[in-house]
Subunit: 726 residues, 2 copies
């Protein structure tokens, strides 16, 4: 371990100068950053460290915003669903919203931009069927159908930036002004943004890195009348709309997007909704706009000899780091928060930047750093889950957030971070630009593909959801697995993307963008995958894979998977294969009943050849099926655990028909993992637990090496030219 300094960013704090120096020395920090609401002291800026300064582009300037309210950011939202109880009705459009955040835009003609629907018939009402009363903020509809349900889609101003609103309300900021976000598409706003940054760059000579937090449009997040989330989609473009944007879109595409294109009957095009072509067109349009304007700002930063870093979150909409326009922004770096392996990979895999940085947990906040609590537990869990992913593709830097004075009061924690930092630098020194060997190439197939690389199954960033953890766990498992992972969509399948993939995974609930919904109604997709599996590849389905109700089938690839879901229409067709095999390759390392997560009910084997591997309460939870020279494997769900990661790993090998190759670069103990780096002739064996682990490691030649790994150990071994551990 020669590299003992660098690659770590420390948050700054007032009146914490000497301790900051101590932490810098012990943790090897080479950068200090401020936070939302805090500023660094001048003497801190003079320390031997890069200075990151948070910069808000589209908020934090209320004086300007209040003078240009017509350029306030906007959103399409839907009123509450309202049942008519007579032939006449009035809908209070703001009912249920947090009115300090959302206010109707009446500067533009409601008749042009708003829509009233009869949701019982699905009909859009003609504009002369309703009137808007700005005084009562309500829409009156005449001649309604009694006991039909109506809604109003309306264009609203976002009067409060959602992140600042959240921080403000959570931390009781009281009189702190509410940041009004302004729109980069507004000509005055755009000039203001540029001029302000120019001035700021001049006035902040000690800033080395401008940490954009972030650019122009916040992900969709609006509150309800309880001041809590009403809707949150970390990917949502809903709050990037405006008449100006829609008119520019129309000029370019030849058609006008309507409120309903964004509202989609209240689902608001969440990332779980299959994107319509119109929405995809809009995303592309808005990405181009964001990238071109962000580039101008980044160019200004560079002109001042500083680096431009983007925080992956908040106002990140349109940047899509895996999209077609991200490279053109010219960013130096991206920083994002790390909740586990998958979220680490979201950051680490971002192309076209000089470096990436992961903000690790725990935050130095009083909820964790309180008397009687041991923050090392959370830090260890976070580090071990992230480290798995780092071994596959490291971020280039790590960092922390919050109040370092809190962390400083926990010496064991300070010690622990010191060890993490050293280990991180050791890893980087070895493998920063070294590609690890991949035992398989896996393709995750969903409606988003590459655009949302590692971002499947996220609703609000890193929050746990009952409906997603059974799938998100699979992403976490893959993030640290010795396989290459590609993200493909259904067009990619048609364009030959399966050519360099060994196993395709399709996972998620029926009818969602994750499982693919209506794409399974496409005979071309279905037959390409069938042929590809039949010729000797693998298809792993999780949850409701390939689900689409057609021709008496629900899983359109039930023929590959060997299982189907009974939904009550084929009860008359008897099922017979409910006995699990006593032993199977996929579950050979299982130590306890399979933890399948949320139940997927009524999965049954379609024929006697299906290998029923695990069954719970008469629902098949693991199965496999030979299909020509290939195989299908079904898993009902896969919450993250070391044991489940092993079940997935074996499933992939089994699907690929490569069981005999499993014992290469393999640890018999699933709490340990093996990564090999042929270019440097090294192998890394990690213990993913805080306990000592005994295991046998098989090297690239199939030789077994018994070993004991200490708590959290990362052990480097050296290889000879035959891939044998020396």
């Amino acid at each position: 371990m020669s590299e003992t300094k660098g690659r770590l960013t420390l948050p700054g704090e007032h009146e914490f100068y000497d301790e900051t120096k101590e932490l810098m020395r012990r943790w090897g920090a080479d950068a200090i950053r401020d936070s939302d609401g805090t500023k660094l002291e001048e003497r801190v800026k003079d320390l031997d460290a890069k200075i990151y300064t948070t910069y808000f582009v589209a908020r934090n300037y209320n004086e300007f915003a209040l003078q240009h309210l017509d350029e306030t950011q906007q959103i399409f939202v839907m009123s509450e669903r309202t049942i008519a109880t007579s032939t006449h009705m009035t809908i209070e459009i703001l009912k249920g919203f947090f009115t300090e955040q959302i206010q109707p835009n009446t500067l533009e003609d409601p008749k042009e931009w708003w829509q009233v629907h009869n949701r019982t018939t699905g009909e859009l009402l003609p504009v002369d069927a309703w009137t808007y009363d700005a005084t009562t903020q309500s829409v009156t509809i005449n001649n309604v159908q009694p006991f039909h349900e109506y809604t109003v889609n309306f264009l609203a101003f976002v009067m409060w930036d959602p992140t600042q609103m959240y921080n403000h309300l959570t931390n009781n900021w009281g009189d702190v002004p509410k940041d009004i976000p302004f729109d980069a598409r507004g000509p005055k706003s755009w000039e203001f943004m540029k001029a302000t940054l120019q001035t700021w760059l001049k006035n902040n000579p000690k800033t080395d890195v401008v940490r954009f937090t972030t650019f122009f449009y916040h992900f969709t997040l609006f509150f309800n009348d309880m001041k809590k989330d009403k809707f949150v989609d970390w990917f949502g473009y809903g709050a990037s709309v405006s008449p100006a944007a829609l008119k520019a879109f129309e000029a370019e595409h030849g058609y006008r997007l309507l409120a309903e294109d964004f509202i989609q009957a209240g689902t608001y095009n969440s990332t779980f909704n299959e994107p319509t072509q119109r929405y995809l067109d809009y995303i592309d349009f808005q990405q181009r706009f964001v990238a071109s304007r962000a580039k101008e700002l980044v160019d200004m930063v560079h002109a001042h000899g500083k680096e431009a870093m983007m925080f992956l979150g908040d106002n990140w909409i349109g940047t899509e780091p895996y999209g077609d326009y991200f490279a053109s922004i010219g960013l130096d770096a991206v920083v994002g928060s790390v909740g586990g392996g998958a979220s680490l990979r979201v950051i680490a895999d971002i192309p076209h930047v000089k470096y990436t940085e992961g903000r690790f947990l725990p935050y130095f906040f009083p909820d964790t750093f309180r008397e009687g609590n041991d923050p090392v537990i959370e830090a260890s869990d976070n580090w071990l889950r992230a480290r798995r992913a780092i071994m596959r593709k490291p971020v280039n830097r790590i960092g922390y957030g919050g109040y370092p004075s809190l962390a400083y009061q926990f010496p064991k924690f300070v010690d622990y971070v010191e060890r993490i930092a050293d280990q991180f630098r050791d890893i980087i020194e070895n493998i920063e630009d070294v590609k690890p060997h991949a035992n398989l190439t896996v393709g995750i197939l969903n409606s988003w593909g590459r655009l949302r690389t590692w971002q499947a199954f996220m609703v609000a960033h890193e929050l746990w959801y009952k409906q997603t953890y059974s799938f998100y766990g699979m992403m976490d498992a893959l993030s640290g697995m010795s396989v290459d992972v590609k993200f493909i969509n259904f067009d990619d399948v048609k364009q030959g993307a399966l050519a360099d993939i060994d196993v395709v995974i399709n996972a998620g609930q029926a009818g969602t963008a994750m499982s693919g919904g209506s794409n399974w109604n496409d005979p071309e997709v279905v037959s390409i995958i069938r042929q590809w599996v039949h010729e000797g590849h693998g298809f792993v389905g999780v949850g409701e894979p390939s689900a689409y109700d057609k021709s008496g089938k629900f899983f359109q690839l039930a023929d590959i998977l060997g299982v189907e879901r009974e939904r009550g229409l084929t009860l008359s067709s008897n099922k017979y294969f409910y006995t699990a095999m006593e032993k199977h390759f996929i579950t050979e390392d299982k130590t306890q009943p399979f933890e399948s997560g949320e139940p997927v009910t009524n999965i049954y084997a379609t024929h006697k050849e299906t290998e029923v591997i695990d069954i719970q309460d008469q629902n098949v939870t693991i199965a496999a099926n030979q299909y020509g020279r290939g195989r299908g494997v079904y898993l009902s769900g896969l919450p993250y655990s070391s044991e489940n990661a092993r079940i997935l790993y074996r499933s992939l090998f089994y699907a690929a028909g490569k069981e005999t190759e499993l014992h290469r670069w393999f640890s018999t103990n699933f709490n340990c993992e093996v990564n090999v780096y042929p270019a440097i002739g090294k192998v890394a064996i990690i213990n993913n637990t805080a306990d000592e682990q005994r295991t046998t490691v098989y090297d690239g030649n199939g030789n077994a090496h018994s070993m004991i790994l200490r708590s959290e150990e990362l052990r480097w071994e050296v290889l000879d030219e035959n891939s044998i551990i020396i």
Copy 2:
């Protein structure tokens, strides 16, 4: 108890004469019957009892059948789904079928009656795209799309009557000929059926009751290559087809039904499938045919001074006892088997017959009547569940099946049946034609309505299914509840059927005929129900009520129910109401965690006004919601138990807004139930358990009466003119 004889039918047995007389005396039997495969001795026929003789109309005459194979009964079946692996494919059409039962009909032109589908595209292939080879019993398709899925719909002869086949294989009948069923629509068969019955009637002067087992067409039941059920639908008309029938249908309706009208991509129009209008037309057509021909046979029976009884099962297709044509058959009686309350009501409620008879459990078969087993346990369970229903609407007679010599070896069982028989006669003597008071009128709303009265959620008659017990339990609960139950369909709703109903129940899985599927896409249905509830009625939804994917809603009546199902598309909309109320009217008598049966996942409350009453694993399992002057109640499932029956009873009262009327004719202990018969001034209080029960019974005036009921007790109390128990 003055009536000590009668109303009970005993099965006969050879070499059992004296014991038969003894059982007749002790059980008060006044009828003796034979069974499939057994004949009564002559001396038994001379006993003081009505003689029932089983009569098969469409089978049991193989000499005729073999000479008229062109009039063998027929069925449309679908080959296995087969994936093409090149541009050319051959499908062995019988693969997976039990070929002793199913054989292709090649007397008729396959090109006229068969269909080949590409199930991947959903397309029907032109007839010149394929050829049938009768030698190999296979269809060859040229120019297929590689890796698309194909099926062959073909017309087949049913070479073995399903019931006889089942008995034959189950009981190893060896050389007994396989009954070939012939078709009443075949001119020779019909003449044969009439002539044979005529002769038989002459030759069986001692027969008092001709027990038709049954008429012409068996419910759909075909076996697989393991000689087990491949498909079974107790309601299926699939095995009633023939070119003759379809041509007659065409002549009448002006259009030809196709194989796919019956096959429906392999679901075969099971009773859980929403019926198409074409299938409904066919059912109606076939009912008229069956009724008219059955009438001719029944008339012949009457002409010989005998009674005609129909067994409800086996070849009962087309009789539909709750349909429009049943009355015209002119039957004297119907007999059917009783598995519990709902199946008792299936028989007991049949209109237009002089009497009904329930065949009770256990059968006198060696599986139950074996050393070490106590058959009284099954008998008691069967009787107590049936008795609840009898108190609402009695069958007129009871009976048993099997070998009485077996039962005779169990004196405790003989004693028990003696008590059942006496109690049954006591009940009948009191209430045979007396309508019990109903505290509410409940409408069960599904796609079938009255036609399938009490027959919802049955797949194979009385078999337990994982996917249905949570709904069937509700039917069982209602069968003995002091409410009137009507069965209505969606047309009935539009024609005003809600007028005399207090509470509508809609239950079942999404997309099935039970919940109603696409009917919930009908604004008229939805708005009629909304208005009706709003004006002060109740809507109880069980499972996935009103489910149809439309306008961003899944439960189209979520506004009434106050709950919705999250299917992964609205994860971005936060849910907040996951705390169950501590106490609620509906669960006031609950003694243990609610047994909701199969999980219905991701049910959530839509707004804070929803009364969340029970929640399990973050799925709402019981909820209620005020809706105008009415209410919605949601139950995720309701397997039968006394406790669940009480939860349903209270749900109905709550939905109807009649909580204050609950304590009329009410037992505080849910193991006891109260039925009142105003016309005779009596109330019956039953103990539904084998244990002694303490309870407080409220009479019609609200007076409380504490009492202790013995094991299984039925207690009659007398009322004064103010409905007070004297």
